[in-house]
Symmetry: C2
Subunit: 401 residues, 2 copies
């Protein structure tokens, strides 16, 4: 069976693991490294599909868990699948939702069979198995589906990480056996918690199952940035060079640059969209808070050098601040368009630097500049999965929105 995914490396950096590539999927081609805007509930919050195109988005992410609960994956299947449902004609990747499940349903119980949980919408008791996660995603019909993995919060022990890793491999195998939709690609997810050796082991176990692409999960959940890098490094040292690697839930502009340096090809994060709705705006000059009184009478755009719709149409910082203060959703939309455009611009620039062989020095320069000084930490200024005093996984915020 021919895989519905073709991946070609187009250039490699000589001083790091960075590379550019072209990912051909049923709904279009994606230049990598690529950033996927997060559209959890079949909409990137506040935006319509044409806004995504205008912002330069090539591929977006939706969440199988959320959509299976509302409106229901079978409803979406009956309406012709996720692409037609939301009116986005480009590639889509869906996350299986193990992470969301734990962050939204803290009383979830995990066993080898699957995850027993209560719906965060109505409290109904349900079971998500690797097979059910595949079935949901076959109903939704994205270009790329993800296996169900076992989420692991920080801190955790070697044994806990090893158990979650083993279960994730077991589930990946079951998912692969259950998956039969020929127009869809299934990715495995590397786990292994905070231990490099376990990350490498997880990668090797998944490779034995021969997935067409691999994600690295369970990062950016509260561990130090330097630790994130070495854990990612441990995985990409093992993963095959000719398959796409997707780092889940990452991150700040600086995180993306570091991730690219470690050989990552795909990213997703709520950061640009969620921050936009809170009035935090990204640019090459660093971050800006539209709430700041300094913008109250500012006639200029967010960034005069920015090519996004919001900046080019001439919306002033004063107007955006007014919309924000007045609670008008137009402001959220215009700022979301700007932040997503910035993220796409950042990735386009990184690809360009890789292609012309200058990525490493460019990356160092960026990390030493305004982007490197960006406030750290997980999106929303806290959150990620962690263990409470009773040892249960809890979460302040969901990393997908």
């Amino acid at each position: 069976m021919k895989t519905p995914l073709q991946f070609h490396i187009t250039a490699k950096d000589t001083k790091s693991k960075a590379r550019t590539g072209r990912l051909a999927l049923p709904h279009g081609e994606v230049n990598t490294p690529a950033f996927m805007a997060v559209g959890t509930q079949a909409t990137v919050k506040t935006l319509a599909p044409e806004d995504l195109s205008t912002a330069g988005c090539q591929i977006i992410l939706a969440n199988a868990y959320h959509l299976s609960l509302r409106p229901g994956d079978e409803v979406i299947a009956g309406l012709g699948g996720l692409h037609r449902f939301m009116g986005w004609e480009g590639p889509i990747l869906t996350d299986s939702g193990g992470y969301q499940l734990f962050s939204l349903a803290p009383l979830a119980r995990i066993s080898d069979e699957g995850i027993d949980f209560q719906s965060h919408l109505d409290g109904a008791r349900m079971m998500l198995t690797p097979e059910r996660a595949v079935r949901i995603q076959e109903n939704l019909g994205p270009d790329i589906a993800m296996v169900l993995d076992e989420p692991l919060g920080f801190p955790h022990t070697w044994d806990e990480a090893g158990q979650a890793l083993s279960r994730t491999t077991l589930w990946a195998q079951r998912a692969k056996e259950a998956h039969s939709l020929e127009t869809q690609t299934l990715f495995g997810i590397v786990q292994g918690g905070g231990f490099e050796e376990l990350r490498a082991r997880s990668a090797r176990e998944l490779m034995a199952l021969d997935f067409p692409g691999y994600a690295v999960g369970g990062l950016c959940l509260g561990e130090a940035k330097v630790e994130t890098e070495s854990l990612l490094d441990a995985a990409t040292d093992v993963l095959p060079l000719d398959k796409p690697r997707y780092v889940m839930g990452m991150g700040t502009p600086a995180d993306l640059i570091r991730g690219i340096r470690k050989g990552a090809d795909m990213f997703d994060c709520v950061m640009p969209t969620r921050h936009a709705r809170r009035g935090n705006l990204f640019s090459w000059r660093g971050r800006l808070s539209i709430k700041n009184a300094a913008h109250a009478e500012a006639p200029g755009p967010i960034d005069p050098d920015c090519g996004c719709h919001t900046c080019r149409k001439g919306y002033s910082r004063a107007y955006l601040r007014h919309l924000f203060q007045a609670g008008e959703t137009l402001g959220q939309r215009l700022m979301t368009i700007h932040n997503l455009y910035f993220y796409q611009d950042l990735l386009a620039r990184a690809r360009e630097e890789i292609n012309r062989g200058c990525f490493s020095s460019w990356a160092e320069e960026q990390l030493a500049g305004p982007l490197g000084r960006d406030p750290e930490g997980p999106p929303g200024g806290g959150g990620g999965l962690r263990r409470d005093r009773a040892g249960r996984l809890v979460s302040g915020v969901s990393a997908r929105d």
Copy 2:
């Protein structure tokens, strides 16, 4: 001094007072009868200027009272005026805000000098005079400004209505004397409460001041529909035929048809926009609530015959319902586009019927059909201004949003 407003009647109905006209303003021409979308805070809620154009909007309304408090009319003046501030290049009318002031600041005290009130944003004590209302609107720079009038709730006595009428005339005179912006037209506002004779008197008093256009205020505040019609009739019987008449805060599709029949040229109401945000959708077939479970799996658009962006792009009722249920603002935006398009379509159709001499029979047909069966009452299902037990004006909802 040449007035910055030219109004030409282009056709008259033979069986009613309906007429079509062309209103030339500094920022463009408006075909009348026209419906103005309400953009209280310098944005028609959820929409960008290009959405307004797509929906067929010719002229929009903003609120001087709201904008003077936030971000401040002088701030907007410093940024080049309201058009540049919000990025809408077409005509704008601003309401002076007397009505909003009473509905949002119930402790307002009225005297011949003006209205003494507390800001609904921070409780600051302020005074709005006829001169200040003019000054604010000169700062904002819309094509059409409104005089400050004295709002009057229902029920009220002849004497109360007469006093409010007299004060409104007095204030109209002061506003006219204070107004000097040559690129802006100032409209007077007919009051007179629930008494036809007072409506006629108010119109005559204002005509003595020779305004380039006249609004009829204080309607649709809880009185019976039949009463609204006769009160409007009393005003348009007196008002000059060659000047535009604007009926403030009206109304349902059926209200608009009845208003046109009584010779109205301009309308504004929150109904299409506010209802859209609540999932109530207008169409020639009548109203539809997107919340209805019947739409959960409906693959078709809101109205297959509708030419709006939302219906033509193929957004299904199932998707719109999902967005509504999930609290996604994209749904509010797509539904607002639909409702505004419907209102513009309704007015375009009315103009066409007047032009071809068939308005009266068409209007009767419409009022006997789905549009005539539309739920009655003020927007939001209650509200409007009324008196509480202590005789103070109170309001459940504001008729401008």
